[in-house]
Assembly symmetry: D2
């Protein structure tokens, strides 16, 4: 049995576990005030090219989305997202649970087209009754998206400029950011993201850590008393070192990028195998998640030997499935899949 079920099927990259071992006995103060957290922050600032960035470590994506969004919105505001956005579809109402509406716009392969955003905002302010409506107070995008797709630099420039015009922050969910940055088909760098977004996060959980997301406010623009906000969301780990050591390791000698590049290489090999075997791609994904449409009969057989994820049913006889690569995917896994197919 081989598994392409997700990018969180294995534990942490070995170098992370080693560092947790090595630092285990060192007495450290709690709640993110230890020297590994500080060192990780410093390295992330350097990687982003933002000396004044504020970096906060949280445990997971939904937690991060709910916390960042609610900390930055006024209570009469909602967050604009693609209708397929993770916060709208798969976070069990975590955003609404903080009192805010997700204002949905149509998506283009998981992305918000700049024109779509612009039109939405224009129509909102043109509406005579907009005082009776939820004000758009932030734009949420993910990069890669739910469908593994990527914004171009031009897209991001355009979205950022629209947000600036309307004085609302642009928030980029980077739960799988590494795979976006290391894609063979991107012109977007981490520095671009830091320059164009008002807040974003560098996902650890799905890029080789046991858990952890690094939230970056690139221009010292974090909301006041963010530590207290983290605490009141139940998101402050007593042993902050767990996150600090992991991110310090990920941003030492480029491990974060190395892990991501490896997964991308595996994904390219996976794509080649799937293509060779005549699989129909649901869409063209340039990152570590690949979506193929399978006949249900073929899927049933395949599931005996390969773990993969159900995505959706386009019709009665077919299923869209997702295959994901990660730091732990090996060329042997791909080879075995080839043989099975």
């Amino acid at each position: 049995m081989i598994s392409f079920e997700s990018d969180y099927i294995a534990g942490a990259h070995p170098r992370i576990l080693e560092r947790l071992m090595e630092t285990n006995l060192e007495p450290l103060s709690g709640y993110g005030s230890d020297r590994y957290c500080e060192s990780a922050r410093e390295k992330i600032r350097a990687a982003c090219g933002c000396a004044e960035a504020q970096v906060t470590f949280l445990s997971g994506g939904t937690q991060t989305n709910a916390l960042v969004i609610s900390a930055m919105l006024q209570h009469y505001q909602g967050v604009v997202a693609a209708e397929t956005g993770h916060i709208n579809a798969h976070e069990a109402g975590a955003i609404e649970n903080t009192g805010h509406k997700v204002l949905t716009v149509p998506h283009a392969q998981g992305k918000i087209a700049p024109d779509t955003l612009n039109g939405f905002l224009e129509r909102f302010y043109a509406d005579d009754n907009h005082d009776h409506m939820v004000f758009p107070g932030m734009v949420y995008i993910s990069h890669p998206t739910e469908y593994g797709t990527l914004y171009t630099l031009e897209d991001l420039e355009a979205l950022s400029s629209i947000c600036k015009r309307y004085h609302i922050p642009l928030f980029l969910d980077g739960a799988r950011l590494g795979y976006g940055l290391m894609s063979l088909h991107t012109d977007v760098t981490l520095q671009d993201i830091a320059r164009l977004c008002d807040v974003f996060y560098i996902g650890g959980t799905k890029v080789g850590a046991l858990c952890g997301e690094a939230v970056v406010f690139p221009r010292g623009n974090a909301p006041a008393h963010l530590l207290t906000t983290v605490k009141l969301h139940g998101a402050l780990l007593a042993k902050g070192r767990l996150l600090g050591v992991q991110f310090d390791t990920l941003f030492t000698d480029g491990l974060y990028f190395e892990i991501s590049r490896h997964a991308i290489e595996m994904a390219e090999q996976l794509k080649a195998v799937l293509r060779e075997k005549g699989c129909h791609f649901y869409l063209e994904s340039p990152t570590n998640q690949q979506f193929v449409v399978l006949e249900d009969r073929r899927l049933e057989e395949l599931k005996q030997q390969v773990a993969l994820s159900f995505w959706e049913k386009p019709d009665a006889d077919h299923t869209v499935v997702r295959l994901a690569t990660s730091w732990s995917t090996t060329p042997e896994d791909i080879q075995k899949l080839r043989e099975i197919l």
Copy 2:
């Protein structure tokens, strides 16, 4: 420099890190559905003597308190707690953030006396205007308390019986439960707690884990769709194995109790040293946290060589400090403290 600053200054007990290493490459499904989580649940059920207990793993204490309390209260209800209770004083309003009031009652060394609880509930229902007030919908206690003190079995029986009479659940915060169970001065067992409480948790973060609390609904009485509730609180880890492997290890061969017993032994040695050196105890604590009153001048000196926690200022010239032991405290640490004092 030696540290008694808290029981979360070191990383995890070495056996936990070993198991994380050993299981690291195994592909496992996410969100708490893996076999380590299942095994840990089974072992916790056995330790509690509750075959039908439901066990859910979360990351930290504040998260657990907010989630459990809000999941079990009706929206017109609040939770009764001692005014010194962690949820009232040191969780940055996490409970209120879920929409519920903390209804405070006076404490006795951190505990709620049964008579105090009874009187509070009696007065509430006797009040003609109670329809304009927050209904008491749950009782929150911690064991050990903020002051390291413990309920007796008789106390717990009485509190439980009052809660039953008023049809409200009794919730026990066991962030440091191990130290309570292994105290030399307790008659309360884990099975007693499982029998007398409606929900409680077994703290991992402060008892040798990197992070993690195991919430137990002992009689299959968990609220419906608790997984979704965990998700919407941002508390669902994708790599649920991180919690599963840790608790599976803690409940294998009694490691949880071994860790706790060690810390209690260290605390007893610590008490002896403090007593020998003429320190004045703020109160008599039978667990791993010791509170002493120091002259501020002496404290300033001590802080050069020993890390400890500020607790409160009883007057202008004195400070109450906390010294805590944990799995990582050694007899050498105690010996060094003795020399320093």
Copy 3:
């Protein structure tokens, strides 16, 4: 200048003001416990044909929607509504402010088709990942809808039966209920609504009262401690008599229906005039709100003499406007409009 701007441009029906005058000096207890509230409840029970109905008076529609929905949902649930539903589009996020998502489905002239609802619920439970999604916990419809349209009895029977199958309540927003009941084109009675819905309200504000909505739980199925819930939403008026006297008057000698019938008669005359003058109807509305598409140039002229409401812009040169009738609309108003057109 004549006004068809809305059905709340005038004050209260004169009989209501008279009764407020007549009862003004009578000392009455507060918070809805007075004899006028009780009498109004009794008359509403009779009108609904539900001896055990529980009736609560609130001040306005958004308040009622947010209170009823949040009081009946579990925290992991959302409310299903048409994307054009008032709670989704024009209540400034009042539902989300209580922590719940509005789960939208496509509309058919403002209505939810039974097949649409059924399909939505089927797909939700068929989705493997529904534990990571917001559970549908209630269905919200309005009758008349935002577009003045009405459900048929068959529609309501079908929606009610789907809700029963999925064990979720059906909630009917009757902010303009009278106009639905007195429409010339309906087969739905108040008793039908009481029989088929789990909760609904009889709108007063837009049907001749100064303010006020009567929420009905037809089968004694109100959530526990609803008075406390009303209080904590800031919706409990000290002088509950203001609502009691109004509803007592509305349900004396059929005034509520008389007011509604009058507005419907005016609306039918209005339709005849608009049709005669060649106006294009945006849709066929059987109630007191009429929607016509006007050329922007014609609209600009018209607005000099007639107050009406902007609805939407279907294209660059046209506008959909709403004209509404109410208790205070007179045949002279219609005649004047005819002359102006």
Copy 4:
């Protein structure tokens, strides 16, 4: 039977009902945009001596408290109140329902002494752990208080200056403000309040209106988009005229002050009668609410002929009761009470 049960036992002052009648047929736009609301705002600005004051009309006290407090607090902040404050004790958790803690301080006859406030704030910022605590973000006082007592001008100056020093707003709940302003024992004027508070409200419900509170932000300092906030709290009346006409009437020819002065005169007569009859006053109240301690036996007799309010039980044989006067109290009522006593 005569009634001193509360100051909301009767309907509205007759001049208010007359104006509602006179203006009833006038077509007016909704949601507080009509000319009566505007005129009332202008008159309130003049009465407060604040040309740039922003005035918003709401329906009741709990609604106003919850809305104002949640609109002005950051999510990591709570509101400081006396433990006897209405928001802490008798609003069913309305504040916590918006996500904020009520931070209680001891009271002195319902008031917060400036030293108490100062000490609380000093201790908060002196605490090393205050990042794990709820930040004090606002101070709430009521004038008159729950016990009918009043702040002196010196008190208000001191409280205001402390708030300024800590950069937090001072909010005055004036549900019964008129009775405070017209007391024979006050040196505080409406202009003083407007000068010293950051937000306050002028209560209508308990001072002669059917319902209504006028919230005043005296220096144009209302939170952005307050109308939307009012809407999302379910507090925006479609027929805003109901509030506008009432406050326009109350602030025409000093009716608000005339009503209040009358109630104070009646209260002074009431006090004289109670004193003459040997009643023991629970405390010295200079406003329209009087609190006396009665033997339970005497109370039982009295209740046959006089409606009054239960306040609290100081011991097993006595009860504190409240007697309140209002616009509708007559000298004959007082005379009858005298005879009964």
